[in-house]
Amino acid sequence: MRISRRAFLKAGGLAMVSFGLDPLFLARAAYAQGKAAGPARAGRVLVCLFQRGAVDGLSMIVPHGDPLYYKERPTIAIPQESVIDLDGHFGLHPALAPLKPLWDAGVLAPIQAIGSPDPTRSHFDAQDYMESGTPGVKSTADGWLNRYCQHQREHDETPFRAVSFGPELPRILSGSAPSLAIGDLRAFGLRAPNDAVRDRLTRAFEELYEVAPTGLLASSAQEGFEAVNVLKRVDPARYQPENGAAYPNGRFGQSLLQIAQLIKAQVGVEIAFADVSGWDTHVNQGSAQGQLAARLGEFAQALAAFARDLGDRMSDVVLVTCSEFGRTIAENGSAGTDHGRATAMMVLGGGVRGGRVLGRWPGLDPAVRFEGRDVAVTTDFRDLFAEVLSRHLGAGSLDAVFPGHAVQRERFVGAIRG
């Protein structure tokens, strides 16, 4: 079998892995070596989860200590007896019960009243801004996670550095830094009726691209083949979650399972992204039970399974949830909620200063609401993302990641130890 020179030089131990040499030990050594030079921290992983459709932050992290909450939501408020109390004022939606042990362990921190400085109530625009990282500026070409990768280049040796689970690369990861969109790890690579044909086809294409005159084309093809070779070792079809972790069926749970699998395989994942939709609860949102409860239940199960599956490895992982905006404080005429402003997000991981609800809570009083109806934004979402990038991943300057936003540590909510 031939080892392409570039693959060998570039991936170091990783390339050998696929040729039967002691896999994990070498991979880890090569990986650690590669990291030593750069400022970013070896082995750290950021998992970013997008709740598309504007999740109701008041139903996730319920302000059950505030009578106004119950007054404004006569049929869809979560009854006090169902709320899982966190700090006397806020509590978890009962469907988020799988997250309570993580709160108790101090590795889960919700952030209330977080959102975008741009007041748009359009899903499309708000998602776009949250992914581009430039609220109010439409023409930004790339996403902030990709810009992070562009400016912290020392991770380049692995094709799995930035992965997104889904058929297409999302806006947040699009840009000039290499990133992989993976629909399903088990189907990644060339398709063929059997393994022998597949291996042969893979080798043929590998050879076609080895001497391609366009450097960029050749290098990205070889990155793809490196990924294929690494995955062959990882053998995604035979993966078994550890510690009895039970991921929910459905795309979101399976995405988290595959992210956990890649992290454990030590293939150099630094950024992972997945999204989940179904949060646009205009009609019959439900209360302790109902449509939203069902979505939250699946969401919490997936997060809890992920943390359980990774076990001690969670010390290197931070998971952040986000959503484009929150929903109206008052319920509407259809027992649902309309598009609002601030929502709640969560961070989870070993480095998280959890067990506290973070962010400055503006309250529900009409006088402090945004335009008299919505939870006001007191934390700019970029400050949370910036805190995670800098304190967890060890990113240097973030000026280029969030252009037009002067990142100041005083504005960090204190979600990450550092």
């Binding site: 023409s139 070409a141 005159p213 793809g224 309309d338």
Partner: protein, 518 residues
């Protein structure tokens, strides 16, 4: 204006050939020194069409590359029997903007907005057909350049299918705004987009009102609508559609452009969703844009004046010409071809056909450094592959879905900047593996949604050398490298069945680095 000085003898020879009227009818096209007639034919087919079908290179080489281009520029929309036959199969082309608006209203009524409210299946299928049609036209139309330009202008004036009302506004935006002007005058196209509900909704001009006015439009969500101008459209109009980001405008210009365009809006979908000017929300005050005064008291008319002024601004001309050169010549186009395009624009009052003619006649277009140096976008790759194997896509959305998965979801680019053109944006390793998978599946007839006819390409043969020669000529236009030839021949070594050998050779050729470039 800066002009590149060419001292190269081959270049001046080329210029002489190009300028001589007699050269236009010569059987051999002019080329930059080293290009043969076939290479020249391939080059124009790769850039001004979606790549050759089997036999096209010989035909165009015979006709002359520039004569072929002139014929493409002269083609009238209704003189394309291939296209007409194809379009008959599409139900969506029988629907007008009013029909789409009615569907939108019905849909909203039938399925209240709610948790993951599914679209009614029929509308979803129709929108799939709209996306599939774009691919099918690009594959089958004889007037290839019109299809290439329709795609170019859609990107330049991008709107996003999945943003609210744009679901029903987009089909007519494509048919009535973009396509009729694909080879027309830039100013007409700019005006048509500025008056299209699809654009005004997408970039929120429908919400932009003079202070104190009441906004309108189908996107307002519950209470709390804001009043005042919305600068989104104004900003993108200057930054993307006309002057360009370095076009010398200020934030003050953006604001006054937005004020001039207050009232350019749309009817509610229930009333047809057409363009409407709303005098009550227009800002009648005085404005100044780029130093030009727009006196107070004017209504809709000052918008026309503004757009005409922007269309003729030298920064606009340069910006759009450069973008055309990026598309047709090189990711980093030399000044020479941009200058030639600008001169043709100014001479022809922004006639896109003259600008394209000038680009194709510029020495830079024929330079060895740019031939086969551009990476195909996913759309260009899929369409050119379908053309190369004589495939006919069916009327479903499946080929558009392939393009989506390769990273360029058709009509689904959220950013108003449209899809990028530079190669680094398209060299994603996962997507490249996807291209190889598509290549192999297509050649072996395992790609649902595309009927492949490999007999059009090459007859099955057990002579592998002859097979690879034919694949090189017919699929790669003769561009096959020695390495690719070696790899394909090695792979064919133990394949006895001629049909299987042919499919494998074509699959590898379509997935090769050569075929990723144009």
């Amino acid at each position: 204006m800066k002009h590149t000085v060419h001292t190269c003898a081959a270049t001046s020879l080329l210029a002489a050939v190009l300028l001589a009227p007699a050269a236009r009818s010569a059987p051999t096209p002019p080329a930059g020194g080293s290009l043969s007639a076939r290479d020249s034919a391939l080059h124009v087919l790769e850039r001004f069409a979606y790549g050759p079908r089997a036999g096209d290179v010989d035909r165009v080489a015979q006709e002359g590359a520039l004569d072929w281009l002139d014929a493409q520029l002269a083609a009238r929309p209704h003189d394309d029997p291939a296209l007409a036959a194809l379009e008959k199969r599409y139900r969506v082309l029988a629907l007008d903007s009013g029909d789409w608006a009615r569907r939108f209203v019905d849909m909203r009524r039938a399925v209240p907005r709610g948790l993951g409210a599914p679209e009614r299946d029929e509308t979803r299928d129709l929108l799939g057909e709209v996306r599939g049609l774009a691919i099918a036209r690009a594959v089958s139309a004889e007037a290839q350049l019109r299809e290439v330009m329709a795609s170019f202008w859609f990107d330049h004036f991008n709107v996003f299918l999945d943003k609210g009302a744009d679901r029903f506004l987009l089909p007519s935006y494509v048919e009535d705004v973009i396509r009729p002007h694909a080879l027309g005058r830039f100013e007409d196209l700019l005006l048509a987009t500025a008056r299209s509900p699809a654009m005004l909704f997408y970039l929120e001009n429908v919400q932009s009102v003079a202070p104190g006015g009441r906004p309108a439009g189908p996107n307002a969500n519950g209470a709390g609508r804001r009043t005042g101008i919305n600068e989104n459209y104004a900003r993108e109009l200057l930054e993307l559609h006309t002057l360009g980001v370095d076009g010398g405008y200020t934030q003050h210009d953006v604001i006054d452009v937005a004020r001039i365009l207050t009232g350019w809006s749309m009817e509610p979908p229930a009333l047809g969703g057409g363009f409407v000017f709303r005098p009550r929300v227009h800002d009648y005050g005085e404005k100044v844009v780029l130093g030009t005064r727009f006196p107070s008291g004017h209504g809709e008319d000052e918008g026309f004046r503004l757009l005409r002024m922007l269309a003729r601004n030298p920064a606009t001309v340069r910006h759009v010409c450069r973008k055309l050169c990026v598309r047709f010549v090189s990711d980093d186009p030399p000044d020479g071809c941009v200058d030639a395009a600008v001169a043709a624009w100014q001479k022809s009052d922004g006639d896109v056909r003259e600008v394209l003619r000038a680009i194709a006649r510029s020495p830079e277009f024929w330079s060895g450094a740019v031939v086969r140096a551009k990476l195909k976008t996913p759309l260009e790759f899929v369409v050119s592959a379908l053309r190369a194997v004589g495939a006919e896509p069916d009327s479903a959305v499946r080929m558009a879905d392939v393009v989506d998965r390769l990273g360029e979801p058709l009509y689904r680019q959220p950013s108003p900047a449209g899809y990028p053109e530079r190669q680094e944006e398209w060299t994603n390793s996962g997507a490249l593996l996807g291209r190889m998978n598509f290549a192999v599946a297509l050649a072996s007839g395992r790609m649902p949604g595309a009927e492949v006819d490999l007999d059009q390409v090459v007859a099955p043969t057990s002579d592998h050398e002859a097979l690879v020669d034919a694949v090189n000529e017919r699929v790669l236009g003769g561009a096959m490298t020695a390495n690719t030839r070696r790899v394909i021949e090695e792979q064919l070594d133990d394949v006895a069945d001629p049909a299987r050998a042919r499919a494998l050779a074509i699959g590898l050729a379509l997935g090769s680095p050569e075929f990723q470039r144009q």
